[in-house]
Amino acid sequence: MRTVIEFRVESLQRLDPDGNAVGELPAFALDPDEVLRMYGAMTLARAFDTKAVNLQRTGQLGTYASCLGHEATHIGIGAAMRAEDVLAPVYREVGTQLWRGVTMREILLYWGGDERGNDFSGPRADFPWCVPIATQTLHAAGAAMAFKIRHEPRCAVATIGDGGTSEGAFYEALNVAGARALPVVFVVVNNGWAISVPVAAQTAARTLAQKAIAAGIPGLQVDGNDLFAVREAVSAALERARGGGGPTLVEALTYRLSDHTTADDASRYRSAREVDDARALEPLLRTRRFLEKADRWNADRERALLEECAGSIDAAVADYLAAPRPSTDAMFDHLFANLPERIREQRIAARRHAGTGGH
């Protein structure tokens, strides 16, 4: 047997669970204002998330997918991207979306059953929430193909869950991106679970980063609870992609501290012990510790930040709750640019029966 080719998967950590730096910190982590900005965004994401779950529990929001525990990954991705890049998220990337300018009101509208939530006023070119698992990775590849054909210095970023890496579409996206050296970064948010299925039952692969090897592209792991490592790795991948170096797969190792969604009861399939262990590694705490050690943070500032978050969240919630129900016509709006005659007739019929349904 002759060895034809060798591979290795590497892993990056910059901030340990106690908030201590590991190795050489990247420039942005040495800029305290930048770290504060990211910590603020993580805090907002968590506070907003908590509120959204409460709204669901009190019947004011539909099924909602919490991002509890994913904040470092989400904000790390967001902070690594440029405004003109494009995000193709799943249903859980609240943090990244907030960072990129999707408003809390839009997020609530979407999960509140209203398509207007997808009409992002901020990142106009970003893809909407994507529920059919893994499909968004191909959209990111296609967006990257458009940028490449037009010679624009832009990149696409797709996120995907650990469970999502079992879908064929994911591999097709990695493969086409590799074959055409597309400017796209795939981030696998490995939070340990796909609803009730743990990663070990999902695949025999010991890392999800190694799935990149199948496409002949670089893949690496980062500690997904480590804001600095995520941002550094995604930044490097984006830089390479922007320079024509092609795609990268980044696996961010984190943990889903919540139920899968508000419709799920995780206690049916995983132990409280496991969740407790994971909670000790969660990202806000360690970022706060880092800031505290650098003397940039204290209980007062934390309190002020939380109040500020609460204020903006309350305003957004009020806005959301005040949004009038869409008109019946909205079912037909934007179906086609030019609505065919037969469907125009249906729009008229629908007006006649608006509000007669019982669900």
Partner: protein, 322 residues
């Protein structure tokens, strides 16, 4: 209904060692709707397997198992996630028997929640039975009560060919009914007349049966006597039962949740326009989902046909009679 479905699984697994259950979250979690609740504890993790998150794999692996002698019952978590499995279902599952002249077969049941009305997220409320009904070599079945869910699911598992089993999501927990766990199957390929009547035939299936029956009750108050047919097997349809009914009533209103265009309702209308035309006293009417995307949940009650829409359609039909 969801308990009846779990019960039917249990009976058949107990009595036929070839039956295996696969799908996403069907094991420890018992399925996101609990339709496979308790089965893994009872029959073990080999016969009740969580699959990786991949619908094409669920269908493709089921085909491989079936061709080698097992009888897989596979769950697709929601009908809106069926699409990645269609290649395997259409190109292989539906035609393995035909292709190999009976040498290899696919005794498979693909179960999936169907339809809206439970305020679910995007893609969780689809009624796309057309995509399956058009495919030769498949049977498509949908139950409308706990008892029919039990009896039809047993029939589906026992059938030597693939059966697509569409479970109306909003009926899962809608009604309680004592269902004896006696292993008795109901017939496939046969519609059920749920209510006899003489003035108009209402044909429906899936969750819309509830609204249709309610409309029939309202119409009765108004002196219009409606016959209600639960299609049960959506493909191939039981044309005889429908034609017999229309021969009696002279009027046909079809109620479906799916988008109207090229729906199963079109097939029923076409059958009657071919083989029962001269029985018709009035134009056929379809009360259907609109030909637009199933909206997010704030508007779903405007999309799903209401009792009012059915009643209005029947009244117009009666008014338009010659």
């Amino acid at each position: 209904m969801v308990e009846a479905i779990a019960m039917a699984h249990g009976w058949e697994m107990q009595h036929d060692p070839a039956v295996v259950v696969i799908g996403e979250d069907v094991g420890a979690n018992g399925g996101v709707f609990r339709a496979t609740q308790g089965l893994q504890q009872r029959f073990g993790a080999e016969r009740v397997q969580d699959t990786p998150l991949a619908e094409a794999a669920i269908a493709g692996v089921a085909i491989g198992m079936a061709a080698q002698g097992l009888k897989p019952v596979a769950e697709i978590q929601f009908m809106g996630f069926l699409y990645p499995a269609l290649d395997q279902i259409i190109n292989h599952m539906s035609r393995m028997r035909h292709r190999t002249r009976g040498r290899l077969t696919c005794p498979i049941v693909m179960r999936m929640p169907h339809g809206g009305g439970i305020h679910a997220p995007e893609h969780h409320s689809e009624s796309v039975e057309t995509l399956l009904c058009h495919v030769p070599g498949l049977r498509v079945v949908s139950p409308t009560s706990p008892a029919r869910a039990y009896g039809l699911l047993l029939a589906a598992i026992r059938d030597p060919d693939p059966v697509m089993f569409l479970e109306p999501t909003r009926l899962y927990r809608a009604s309680r009914q004592e269902v004896p766990d006696d292993g008795r199957a109901l017939p496939l390929d046969q519609a059920f007349v749920l209510r006899e009547g003489s003035d108009v035939t209402l044909v429906s299936w899936g969750a819309m049966i509830a609204e249709t029956l309610q409309a029939a009750a309202e119409l009765a108050d108004a002196g219009i006597d409606a016959e209600v047919i639960d299609l049960a097997t959506l493909s191939p349809v039981d044309a005889a039962t429908i034609l017999d009914s229309v021969a009696k009533t002279g009027r046909l209103v079809i109620v479906q949740e799916a988008a109207r265009n090229v729906g199963v309702g079109a097939e029923i209308a076409a059958i009657v326009a071919e083989d029962g035309l001269f029985d018709l006293l009035a134009p056929i009417r379809r009360v259907a989902g609109y030909d637009t995307v199933m909206p997010l949940y704030r508007l779903e009650r405007d999309y799903i046909p209401s009792v009012r829409r059915i009643v209005d359609a029947v009244r117009s039909t009666v008014a338009d009679s010659r």
